[in-house]
Symmetry: C2
Subunit: 239 residues, 2 copies
């Protein structure tokens, strides 16, 4: 059997779209954008529009959309709420379309929008993501959002967790050094993930802003079986 | 005591020169550029001119310089030799100025040339590098060359080894996720570094081209106590 290729990209600055024709791209930004998106769909959101810039987000607000928007963890003044998963309650989002703009995650969704398939991954939907990918047997890129183009450890570790499961299916192999590094980092992190995440830089950023209350939730496996997929530029739940 | 900052950059695509005013930058490309440079100085080279492009390297050849130049591991046809450390013998390089151009390493030397101090690091001079840095007590960036802008594991592991020693001096602390990742990768690799390096992508690239004979040499600690430093765009031995 010919195995499919597994690759990991640690930052938007390292993204090479020309190498990825036909691949499934999994966008990962666990603190907090992709965890929030998974939560929104679990709580009944009908769709999420990824929005790149602040003026665009404001324009959606003016047109009557529910808007979730933050920069550097701070809710933008015109937005309905920011990007803590705890904001995306059933009461607020059920049946709604949400325009969503964040510091890192939504930007890379737009960057990778030309991928054959783009899905949203986090620990919250990790088993569903693996099942979704394995059913398709195509090359996969796990795309970590990083922090302002820098490598970040929490997304690398989540990508490592996904890579471990994909490799275990025997459908995938990898010659990608980033994937090998992520697998090794996950091998260290997995025994006590909350303790490991304590040391990441973004953990400190969120703590300083008192936005760290959702971190243990974001490390929960399989809160939902939703796999958000991008269709015509809009995230919807997978059929 | 105020500790100095330690950061690691995994690829030229992630380099942020504006954040690094006043820092010491250590360029790392262990397979094979920075290992070769350390070897050249140990064998008596008087200076090395990092050359970015192939036409520039050819121009140096036409002007009578000894030229070491490769792309993707293959020696350029006009060059005297490529970038295996084994090429830089005492017979060939003693007392000479060498114009040197490689796929990754020499490009990032030029990219980071505006740093306050730029030095060349590898396992071959690791103790000398740590001693050189510790004597100066300035912020440090360990700059991994990567492979064509991608993350590579061998340079990350070498940076992790340097980071471990710098942290052990108690002069340094880090809030950089890349540094934390590199420290973890090194913690896995160090028990059997040759076996760990077996799995890196560039190991396979060199093997396919039968250029892998120098790898175990490149993993040797402290072959030399030379610290090549960049002065006015030219690498010379540290005073």
């Amino acid at each position: 059997m010919i195995k499919r290729d597994l690759e990991i990209c640690f930052s938007p600055a390292l993204y090479e779209p020309e190498r990825l024709a036909g691949s499934i791209v999994v966008v990962i930004d666990i603190l907090r954008a992709t965890s929030a998106i998974c939560t929104a769909f679990e709580n009944g959101a009908s769709s999420i529009i990824p929005v790149g810039t602040v003026p665009e987000a404001k324009d959606y607000k003016n047109r009557g959309y529910l808007v979730a928007a933050e920069r550097d963890g701070i809710v933008l003044d015109f937005a309905d709420f920011g990007n803590s998963p705890f904001n995306f309650t059933r009461e607020k989002v059920s049946g709604k379309t949400i325009a969503y703009s964040t510091t890192n995650g939504t930007g890379i969704i737009k960057m990778a929008a030309s991928a054959s398939d783009l899905i949203i991954g986090s620990f919250l939907n990790i088993s569903a993501v693996i099942k979704w990918i394995a059913a398709r047997e195509r090359n996969v890129l796990l795309f970590c959002s990083g922090w302002k183009n820098r490598f970040n450890l929490e997304d690398a570790v989540c990508a490592g967790a996904m890579a471990e499961r994909l490799m275990a299916t025997s459908l995938y192999s990898t010659v990608c050094d980033s994937a090998k590094a992520a697998l090794d980092l996950w091998s260290i992190a997995k025994d006590d993930l909350p303790a490991y995440i304590e040391k990441v830089a973004h953990r400190s950023r969120l703590r300083e802003k008192k936005l760290d209350d959702c971190i243990s939730f974001c490390l929960t496996n399989d809160y939902t079986d939703m796999v958000p997929v991008l269709k015509n530029g809009i995230l919807v739940r997978s059929e």
